[in-house]
Structures are given as structure tokens and as C-alpha cells.
Symmetry: C2
Subunit: 361 residues, 2 copies
Amino acid sequence: MKRLDVDLGDRSYPIYIGRGLIRQPELWAGHIPGQQVCVVSNETIAPLYLESVLAGLSDKSVCRAILPDGESYKTLATLSGIYDALLEAGHGRGTTLLALGGGVVGDMCGFAAASYQRGVDFIQMPTTLLSMVDSSVGGKTGVNHPLGKNMIGAFHQPKCVVADLALLDTLPAREYAAGLAEVVKYGLISDAPFFEWLEDNLDALLAREEAALTEAVYRSCVNKAQVVAEDEREGGRRAILNLGHTFGHAIETAEGYGTWLHGEAVAAGMVLALNLSRRLGWIDSDIEARGRRLLERAELPVAPPDSMDVDQFLLLMGRDKKVVEGQLRLVLLQGLGEAVVSSEAPVEAIVATLREAGIKG
Amino acid sequence: MKRLDVDLGDRSYPIYIGRGLIRQPELWAGHIPGQQVCVVSNETIAPLYLESVLAGLSDKSVCRAILPDGESYKTLATLSGIYDALLEAGHGRGTTLLALGGGVVGDMCGFAAASYQRGVDFIQMPTTLLSMVDSSVGGKTGVNHPLGKNMIGAFHQPKCVVADLALLDTLPAREYAAGLAEVVKYGLISDAPFFEWLEDNLDALLAREEAALTEAVYRSCVNKAQVVAEDEREGGRRAILNLGHTFGHAIETAEGYGTWLHGEAVAAGMVLALNLSRRLGWIDSDIEARGRRLLERAELPVAPPDSMDVDQFLLLMGRDKKVVEGQLRLVLLQGLGEAVVSSEAPVEAIVATLREAGIKG
């Protein structure tokens, strides 16, 4: 078991990484100060792991909110069901919410915790690779709106994160690959040695070998935690975590939430960002090719869907949160492991990048 | 014009109190850093004052969300309409929300600001006495749930509060009286000299005389700001602001939100709290009588509705946020201007107080 501490002053918290951790309540139950716990999970995960978690909570008063599975349910209406469960069970401000699921469950449970009675504690138990390395670290919580992803939410830090690698045994290959997209991202934006480690160890990772997996999750979380600690509320540098995300959100919105997995859209988006960075002369074509190759080896899409056209792409990118007063800011690379947030890319260069990727218009 | 600064470190903000302030944008428009503003108001207030506010925003890109009027619309569904307006107008994270209305508009606009794109700025322009002296100060925001009032929300401080006393000219007498309930509250919980000032000046206040009104709003805000500065997130002492509110919330829930005005329910609730405090031997009957008399003079109800029974009261009080792990905590007085939060009142004493107030069961 590895432990990593996210340093956020009085909101600091530990991340535990290892196999079998949900069956070790001595590790995490101490982060529950009160007698009331609400486990939030979904219909896919609950049958697999809920009983193991509940066994560790036998001395607590527990209610549960089991949500439908999928990004299309990441809405205010589904969120409302968590409040219903809490209020029907009479949970007070001393309750602790426990998110047992992937990013959708974690984001919704986190926002429910941020907003229930103006804020209660919560714990993250991510069940996907993506949520272990990304959404469960950093305190971003929220739900989608028909006009944009994650448009409603809050910054709310968990009390701890329990990344039980045994839970990945049941994760479908496609979702596992989607998680690898974010792992590769950390190498690209801030950790060139990790990128090289990934080039050397991707086969072991694809085989889900425990040692490689532990290292990949740990180093991803180290990179994310470091960026988050520097800029908790995304005033500036934290935005580099969004490499490929502005392009990716456009893809997700165009195709309908859940058609492309988030990590898949980010993978295709990162390839676009690499191309744009090379087009601006900021990285050479070797780095662009290595990034693309690593994502391909991870069985991820490296081009956007050809059903989209340029105008649609630009419109959807303009709705992204990274737009500051009409100015499109993108995360780009100035070298391997050196991401910057920039509004210097001219729209002509963005269009050229989209066209080279096969987008019409 | 009087100015009061609420001291909350980097979340500090000014409250401006005086007549005609919404027509003086030089006072408040400087608190809007960006180009985008969303004015949130309701169908009663917008026809009266929206144009005056918009006149001060002529150099901004403005959208608006005009909500239906009333506590019964303080819901997630109505809140959703604010997000719709923001997203349809393409507002980014640099937008500023402006709440023009009473407590319902302020609470919803504040929570929309707390949660839109994980938090944007907002300004309070309260249009009722209640919201000037209470809900617009202190950063509590939120919406109701069918099972409880203000169960969903956040702490989110405004950038400034503009309390334009001219807006009270159109306030119905019943709502004005409801605001006076919270004014009297400050005297009871933390400011005995202010309570005595109110005994001497209530007639001038009821006549809405400017000098008396300025003083009453200013001293109410001073008292509230002081308590909030000591305990921004209601870990302890801030709860004294809830004198009469646990009883009051039970009344509001039982009668249906909006049947009793919040201030009316709080007035009846404070009389119950005074009675309970006297029953515990903490205050003498003279203070109880003076509190009750002042509320009566302010044309406020001093007894709960006789349609309620004891069991219903206790059940609804148990749902209140002030319940910590099953223990009912109440705000009680240990003297004039000396409120405490206590779980010492035995249920038998609460029942006796309810029965003395005419509640059956």
C-alpha cells in the first residue's frame, strides 16, 4: 500500500493506493467523524462492491443512494435523488457521504456533499482507473447541464481517497484504456520521465500488472496533487490539467454525453493539442508522434469523430469554461512535460489542425 | 449613506445603506470585475426596479433571469432557470450575478453564483427589510427541499451588499413587519442597548422614518456581521442567529412554505424560545414579556398556528439542521442580549412551552 498526502492546508487529505483496501476499514473509517454515513454508488458497481464497504460500516447508521449508471445521468435530477435519500434517512450536518464508483458517482456525490446543508464531509472510493488518477483527486465536483459539461458544481475536497486496485479487475477494457488517457496526460503536461516510463511499461500496464499499476496511479496522483496544491481553485496553472479537454468536451457534447468515454475524447483532444503545439512551432514533430503513438498503443482513439464539422467544433469549444470573456484559452505544450495555458493560437491554426485530423468545413 | 465592512479576510465586503443607492452605480459597479453581468430578480420586483439597475450597467453585457415570486419557488427547478439563462447567454467564469430581490432571490442567486462553473462573483441588492438585515449578510445561500428548508446550499460571500432604503417604499406592511422580527432578534440575542432603542423607536420604524430605518438596518447588520465574522461557517456561535428559527422552520414546513412569512414564523418561534428560556430559569418573566410585547407592537404573530399538534412540531423540529446526531440544539436566552446554543432543554419543557402556546397533544 502506498500513501500520498495532498497538501491543501486545513483541507489536506491522504490518498491510499493498493489492493484490497475497501476491505480494510481500519484504513479509512477513521475519516468518518460521526455516526451517519450515506453510500452513493450506481447500479453497476453496487452489486459488486457495496456489501464489502458496508461490512466496514457495521457500527454506523447507513443510508444509500444507488444511481443509474452513466454520464447521461450526471444531472441535477439525479443529484436530487441523493438529497432525497439523505433527508428521508434524517441525516444531519454531521453525516459523511461515501462515493463508491467512477467519476460520475464521485462528481455527483462530491457536489451533494458540498451542497447538502451547505457542506458535509465525503470520502472517495474510485472504482475506475480514470477516477483514481483524475476526478477523485483535486476537489472538483459537479453535474452537467444540457448546454455544457460540469457547468454546475463546487470545489469540495474529500477527507480521503481510497484507490483499491482490486476494483479494476472488473473494469471493462474500454474504460481501462480511457483511464490510461489521463495517465499519459500527466507525462505530457508535467513529467517527462514518467512519460518515458510509460513508453517502457505500457504493456505491463495494459496487462494490469499490480506493480506497474500501483506506480502509474501513484505518479499520476503525485502530478495531479502537485498542480492542485499550487492552484486549488483553478485561477491559473491548474488549467494545464485540461490538456485536450477543450477539444474533448466539444466531442463529448457533439456526440451526446456518454457516447464517447471522457478519456477517449481527451485522448483525441490531446492529439489535436499536440498537433496545434507543433504547428505553432512549440514542440517538434518527434514529440507529437511519440504522444500519438503512446495513445494508440493504449488502444485509444487519436482522431475526432468525422461526423463533426469545423464550425460545430469551434462553437462547442467556445462554450467551454476555459473561455475567459470571449478569449479561447487552450492548454498546449512547449516541450515534453511542459504544458502552458495560452490564448496565442490563432483560429486559423486551430482550423488547420481540425482539418488535418479529418474534420470537414 | 452609511457603510459597514464585513470582516472575513480575503472574503471581506462592504454593505452600503442609504436611500437611492441603486441609482448610484459609481458606488457598486466597481465590484463587477468583468464585462458580463446576470441580473436575477422576480416578477414582482423586476417591473419596479430592474430598469434603474440596468441603467447603471449600460457598458456591460447583461442577461437576466426573472423568477416567479415566492418561497414556494425556492427550488432546484427554479434554480435551474438561472443556469439556463447564464448558459444561453454564453456567460463564462468571469461573470457577476446580481441579486435584485428579497431573501428568496438572494438565496437562489447566491447559490447559483456559488455553483455556476464552480463559483462566480455576486452582488446583493436586497429589496425587503428582511433581506437587508438578514439573508443578504453572511453568505448563506441555497434552496429548499420538499423535506426541509434550505437543505441544499453553500456558503458564498457577496462582493458587496447595496441596501437601498428607497426600495422599501413599495414593500407591503406584512412583509415589512416580517423584517422587523429579525431586527428585534438582534436586540434579543446580542445587543441589549439596541433592544432598548427599539422599544423607544418602534413607532418611528413602523412609520418607516428614514433616520430610524437607517439606524435599525445598520445596527442589525453590525450585529450580524460580528457574529458571522467570528464563525463564518456556523461551527458554533453563529447558530445564535437562529433564535426562534427551529420552532419557526417547523411552522413554515407544517403550513407549507410561503403561507407564513419567514419573519412571522421566526417571531412566533422567538416567543416560544423566550418562554422556554424562562421555564429553564435562565431569564425572568419581565424579559419574556418585553420581547413578546415588542413583537406584538411590530404587528407580528406571537403564537404558532393552532392547527399544529405537539408530535408534528417535535418531528419537524428534529429535521432541522441544528440537530447534531440526533441531539436537538436550540438557541435560548440567558439574559437580554445573551443568547446561547444549548441542548439542555428537556423534551418535557419543550412540550410544556408548546402547550402553553395553545398547541394540542
